[in-house]
Amino acid sequence: MITAVTHRTTRSPKRRIAKIVAATLAAGALALSGCASSAPEPGGTEAAPEAKLTKMVVVTFLPLESFTFTPEMFAYAGGYFEKHGLDVQLQPVQGTAAAIQTLLGGATPITRASTVDVFPAMEKGQPIVAIGTMAYKSNLRVASAKENAIESAADMEGQVMGMGSIGGTSEKMLNLALDDADVPRDSVTRQAVPVTGATFELVKQKQLAGYIVSLDTSIALAEQNPDAVISSADLGDAPDLQTWITTPANLEDPDKVKDIQAFLSAIREATQFVIDDAENDFENVLQILRDSGDFAFAALDDDDVARQALEVYTSQTWIDAEGDRALLENDFDGWVAAYETYAKSGLLEGGKDPLEWITDDYLPTD
């Protein structure tokens, strides 16, 4: 479990030393691998004076116990936030709805959310603007057993499926996948279950045909259970972009714009470092995350799970599939396509122009 929230007003000497050692090791490793000249160094090596750091609370839609939040975790542990003059407190909240409410309430200037969750609020006229794309596709997986493998939406017809919570992102993505496969939604019974590896017991007991899990969990589950079948089950085919969102009010405040752009710069550099570290099998990234002492969760401690998860994020999720967009750059066509798909499915009313809710204007330019 992660240690408290990752904010520290005054960083401990131990952590500082760990970070410097880790950053030096990482830079050295990159140099040895022959890519030091092209890859960015961890941000910690250029940390700005602490006195000038601007405090910033950023909420995450779930606890930071997943590689889903690698950009945030690595920007923190690697010192990228500090490099950009920010003292960021990463504050988890329970679910995307809570994250959006926190943004609207002004407790955080920026958070990230999936289109499937944020479009309903945007369509209802909530003041939310997408300012950068973090993930170009969904990474949900379905875990089932070999004897009743769920490998497509069609396989779910008449079955009992588990998910983290009713009405949440997983269920919305499930509905979209079922619609796409012409499977009646009400033919699938939904159950809220803990989305952990232990829930696979319910699949073995045949109480569940399968359940929707995160990428990290699916990898760990596959390693622990030879009889487990892990599949995207068409959930990944439904359009779902995860974008950084803020409010128009924040974008009217020059100071906040500066902080938001600094935050996005830190995230982009941290993400780029992780992507570049793929050729080292993510050794440097994992070492920095572990040595920082800020994060502790099972997947981080397991080399195989961590590397497999990071491989998927760096090669399929954080980068545009066509390869013609820079990190965080928005996919406007995908944005419109997602809106139209959701409207067609009944998730949204439709008839609005979703391009009014997204902009590239605040992406870092460096």
Partner: protein, 264 residues
């Protein structure tokens, strides 16, 4: 204050406070222009509440939640009385188990919900277990206290009357612990309600707790508030039932007749 005024007090103060709270709520969200996604105005919650009551699935969910609460509560009462009496009577056992009882009492039982779902499935059982577990401790501890609180003089009277152990237990101990049992039950019914709802939050697809999660995930703050209001009303009704049962079962106790004398 006259007895008549005292009797009328709850009927004046409670509605007045409700009106003041609702008006203050309305004023805050209106004057501060609070986003209804974060804090909906009372009229939106009221409309959502009426809409909620008109939906058949709401009543189906009420039946599920109330069933879980009542079954869990009854289990907690039975187990609480048995364990409380045994521990109250057998002092060495209570002393031996005290550290474990304290640990079990302070352990965050809600953290076990994901395991309960896996152990007991996502049906009624996992919620009943949680409801019973939460309600058990206050009931058991109050019963234990009740058994220990029997006055020595009363025991001596029973002895002087040559009462058997069974007679002493039924006519003295059981009678003496009843006020304590009801004190525990009043706390227990509230905790059982919370247990059932939290269980529904995290497992299954039935009940009002599940509807709350669904409403929250849909960013429907008014419906979320309406569901919380409905849950609060259910909790209040269950509490009042226990409270009325106390008046019926132990009319001789000061906590009941004292109140009656005041309001008479």
């Amino acid at each position: 204050m006259s007895p008549r005024m005292l009797k009328a007090l709850p009927w004046i103060v409670t509605p007045s406070l409700v009106v003041i709270i609702v008006v203050a709520w309305w004023a805050i969200v209106t004057l501060l222009n609070v986003n209804p996604f974060i804090f909906p105005p009372p009229q939106a919650v009221g409309a959502s509440f009426i809409q909620l009551l008109s939906e058949p699935r709401t009543w189906a969910a009420v039946v599920v939640t109330v069933s879980e609460v009542i079954i869990g509560f009854v289990i907690a009462v039975v187990c609480g009385v048995v364990v409380g009496v045994v521990l109250g009577k057998v002092q060495w056992l209570e002393l031996s188990l005290r550290p474990l009882i304290v640990i079990a009492q302070v352990a965050p039982k809600v953290a076990f919900v994901p395991l309960f779902v896996i152990w007991f499935g996502f049906g009624l059982t996992s919620k009943v277990v949680l409801a019973a577990l939460l309600a058990f401790f206050p009931i058991m501890l109050n019963v234990l206290l009740g058994v220990r609180s029997v006055e020595q003089g009363h025991r001596e009277v029973m002895q002087s009357l040559n009462a058997s152990r069974r007679q002493t237990f039924l006519q003295l101990d059981m009678r003496s612990l009843q006020p304590y049992l009801f004190a525990g039950m009043e706390v227990g019914i509230v905790l059982a309600t919370i247990g059932a709802i939290v269980g529904e939050y995290l497992g299954g697809n039935n009940g009002l707790g599940n509807m709350v999660v669904s409403a929250m995930n849909s960013l429907d703050a008014a419906r979320t508030f309406a569901l919380i209001l409905l849950l609060s009303i259910i909790g209040l009704v269950l509490y009042l039932i226990v409270n009325e049962a106390k008046r019926f079962v132990i009319p001789w106790h000061e906590s009941v007749y004292g109140l009656r004398n005041v309001s008479a």
